[in-house]
């Protein structure tokens, strides 16, 4: 099966690169390489106008507030439409933190100002005073692989999903989308949105492989994927899961 190859687009790596996000790309790359599947990572930066139609997996991370304006201008200049059609076409998207918020309709600041976002999926985010910070865990439904995901969240925006929009998972411990309704992230077609950085993929190998399988199925019609020895991954995962389920949200 060594003739398989997946193409990954890292969107805005120069501005959206907080909290170890690049670990997600590294994780996908290594887990493909270890299975003899070719992998090509392309950085798509501000002002790049290349076609997005030939990529299999898109990654978009979180950023600092200061940098988001630069970004919104670039999205409005046409890249937003390409992203929208890639999502509708069933491409795999992993959107974290700011990148997740950006796929919704808008972000309303504490002062009441509305920043219009892409509106690819029906949800919106409202800025708050309370920062939701800490290790946390959520459970994926079977359609997303059914595993328990651990991560670290750090956001003051509260995200509310529209009518009928499915969350990525159900919060086991921590805040999730808004600290109120136990939802975390979003799942729309093959777009996976989450507040979890940390980064999310290395410590959650089942979820990482679910993304890979989804992308393989889209391109090759088959999601056959050999398993890997994930001892290090699972021990790091179980340590955090155990800790948050015990209610120990800090490290002291």
């Amino acid at each position: 099966m060594s003739d398989r190859k997946l193409k990954i687009a890292h969107l805005y790596p120069e501005v959206l690169n907080l909290y170890g996000d690049r670990g997600n790309i590294l994780c996908l790359k290594k887990r493909l390489e270890w299975r003899g599947i070719d992998c090509e990572v392309t950085e798509v930066k501000l002002g790049d106008n290349q076609s997005l139609s030939d990529f299999d997996i898109f990654f978009i991370g979180g950023g600092q507030d200061f940098e988001q304006e630069v970004l919104l201008n670039d999205l409005r200049s046409g890249k937003g439409d390409s992203i929208r059609s890639a999502v509708e076409g069933g491409k795999v998207f992993l959107c974290i933190c700011g990148g997740y918020q950006m796929m919704g309709h808008y972000y309303q600041t504490k002062e009441g100002e509305k920043l219009p976002f892409l509106g690819v999926v029906d949800y919106h985010t409202i800025g708050g005073d309370v920062r939701m910070i800490g290790n946390y865990a959520f459970r994926l439904p079977t359609e997303s692989g059914g595993s328990d995901v651990v991560g670290f969240e750090n956001h003051s925006g509260r995200t509310y999903l529209g009518e009928g929009v499915k969350p990525l998972g159900t919060v086991l411990a921590g805040y999730g989308n808004n600290g109120e309704d136990k939802t975390e992230g979003v799942r729309y077609k093959n777009l996976f949105g989450s507040y979890s950085h940390g980064p999310i993929l290395p410590k959650n190998p089942a979820f990482a492989d679910h993304l890979i399988k989804t992308a393989l199925k889209e391109r090759y019609g088959s999601d056959e994927l050999e398993s890997l020895p994930d001892t290090y991954e699972n021990e790091a995962h179980d340590y955090v899961l155990d800790k948050v389920l015990r209610g120990d949200m800090s490290g002291d």
Binding site: E14, L18, Y19, G23, D65
Partner: protein, 466 residues
């Protein structure tokens, strides 16, 4: 001082001394409790007990502790013993404790000079009370994001602090676009230092440059252009749109003549002369610390030769390149707490010409920052793929995370061992007859330092101070 109540002062000083004495009798190196008990009696005790002193404050993400120890060392070499605080006590309570403990019961300071390391967030509470002569800001990088939010927020915290002391001279790193923006619109005198264009390779584009903490102009959002980089976002930046650029420096490193594991030889351009200076600590970031210390000394108007002559003799400070020998094995301990500092340390290890053992300890306690995701922003590949790295140990509450990071960095899994207990770790890491480099983060450094220090007969840190 006007408006201060001598009775309150008396009780505050007494409470502080008593708490400190009690902790020492109990053999505990408590650093903030004495300050808290002093503050209980007098909220502004720090203003009383620092009155009339000449003080240099050092803040910024990286290099605070080393710059402070360079300054302290220079004063000590010249025969003056300054007051100074230690790295774990750089908030208002810890700084209050240091000053209060060294005052008379009527609140008069017993020392004239002080070198104060101050946390970026605590600056605004500390400086209006101690009225420093000089505030040095070393640099701004991402650090402990879950505690301060984002790097821009940290910068604004510093800006607020600076705004409260218009008579203080600012000593700023001209190579850091974030730091040097502190000079914008303030009445303070500003003294700039940096590393000049001819000191580094003009083609030096740091490989981590994609992960820059300041890629866009702080005034107008345009991407900076660079004449040269030193590391990360530091270097000769300029904004093509609004013209904001690296300021002309008052002093700078005009050439780096030699870098070795023992230290660096540099030439410094002053306004009136050039001088060759040796810095007794290795790596580029210690050249930055050295030039920051010289800058602070100049800005304070203190005697130049004290600092320039003492830099060659500066000893490694607590856990920052501190060295130990155990069973004939050399151990060098290097504190790492964020990607920028970690990358510099990893480069240092990979520059070794002989085989070595690497030890990584990672805790996620409050003092470390609960969020350890920064390990994915640091280039562990440099050591993971270094053929001279023969063995790797991981430890700390998040040992499994650092081990996972090393796996994805390409390390050979068969050379990695996880050892939880520090006593076991000390035995294991020195069992190979190879030099050991231990890279712990803050609280894991404290516990490893205690074990290694005890085994090698080095004092506990708080006992070192007085």
């Amino acid at each position: 001082m006007n408006g201060h109540n001598p009775v309150k002062t008396f009780f505050a000083v007494a409470a502080c001394r008593l708490t400190r004495w009690g902790l020492r009798v109990a053999h505990r190196g408590g650093t903030t409790l004495p300050g808290r008990s002093a503050l209980l009696f007098d909220k502004k005790i720090l203003e009383v007990v620092s009155s009339g002193m000449e003080i240099i404050v050092v803040t910024g993400t990286n290099g605070k502790t080393t710059t402070c120890s360079m300054l302290r060392n220079a004063l000590q070499e010249s025969g003056v013993d300054p007051l100074s605080n230690i790295s774990g006590a750089n908030l208002l309570t810890g700084i209050t404790a240091e000053f209060t403990a060294l005052a008379t019961l009527s609140g008069k300071p017993k020392k004239h000079f002080a070198i104060v390391e101050c946390d970026e967030g605590a600056l605004k509470k500390v400086v209006p009370l101690i009225h420093p002569k000089v505030i040095v800001v070393t640099n701004l990088f991402r650090d402990q994001l879950d505690r301060y939010g984002e790097v821009m927020h940290t910068l604004e915290e510093i800006r607020t602090g600076v705004g409260l002391v218009p008579d203080t001279t600012l000593c700023l790193n001209a190579d850091c676009s974030l730091t040097s923006s502190l000079a914008n619109g303030v009445p303070n005198k500003v003294f700039y230092y940096g590393i000049g264009p001819d000191a580094v390779d003009q083609k030096n584009t740091d490989e981590s440059n994609d992960l820059s903490d300041a890629k866009y102009c702080i005034n107008c959002g345009t991407e900076y252009e660079y004449d040269y980089h030193t590391y990360q976002h530091l270097g000769g930046f300029r904004c093509p749109k609004c013209g904001y650029k690296r300021a002309a420096t008052n002093i700078e490193v005009s050439s780096i003549n030699k870098i070795s594991p023992k230290g660096s030889d540099i030439t410094v351009r002053f306004q009136d002369e050039n001088q060759d200076i040796t810095i007794g600590l290795p790596a580029l970031y210690n050249i930055y610390n050295g030039i920051a210390a010289i800058g602070a000394y100049e800005a304070a108007g203190w005697k130049r030769s004290d600092i320039t002559q003492s830099l060659g003799k500066v000893a490694s400070s607590f856990g920052r390149m501190e060295t130990f020998t155990y069973n004939n094995v050399d151990i060098q301990m290097i504190l790492v707490k964020n990607p920028a500092g970690c990358n510099q340390s990893l480069s240092y290890l990979s520059s070794m010409e002989n085989d070595y053992v690497a030890v990584f300890c990672l805790n996620d306690k409050t003092a470390d920052g609960h969020d350890i995701s920064w390990i994915w922003d640091a280039d562990f590949e440099k050591v993971a793929n270094d053929k001279n790295c023969k063995k790797i140990y991981v430890s700390g509450t998040r040992a499994t995370d650092i081990r996972l990071r090393l796996k994805y960095a390409g390390a050979d899994e068969s050379i990695i061992s996880l050892v939880e207990d520090e006593n076991e770790l000390l035995k294991a890491m020195t069992s190979h007859s190879l030099p050991v480099f231990a890279l712990p983060n803050y609280t894991s450094m404290l516990s490893l330092r205690a074990v290694v220090g005890a085994a090698t007969g080095k004092k506990e840190f708080w006992k070192d101070q007085k």
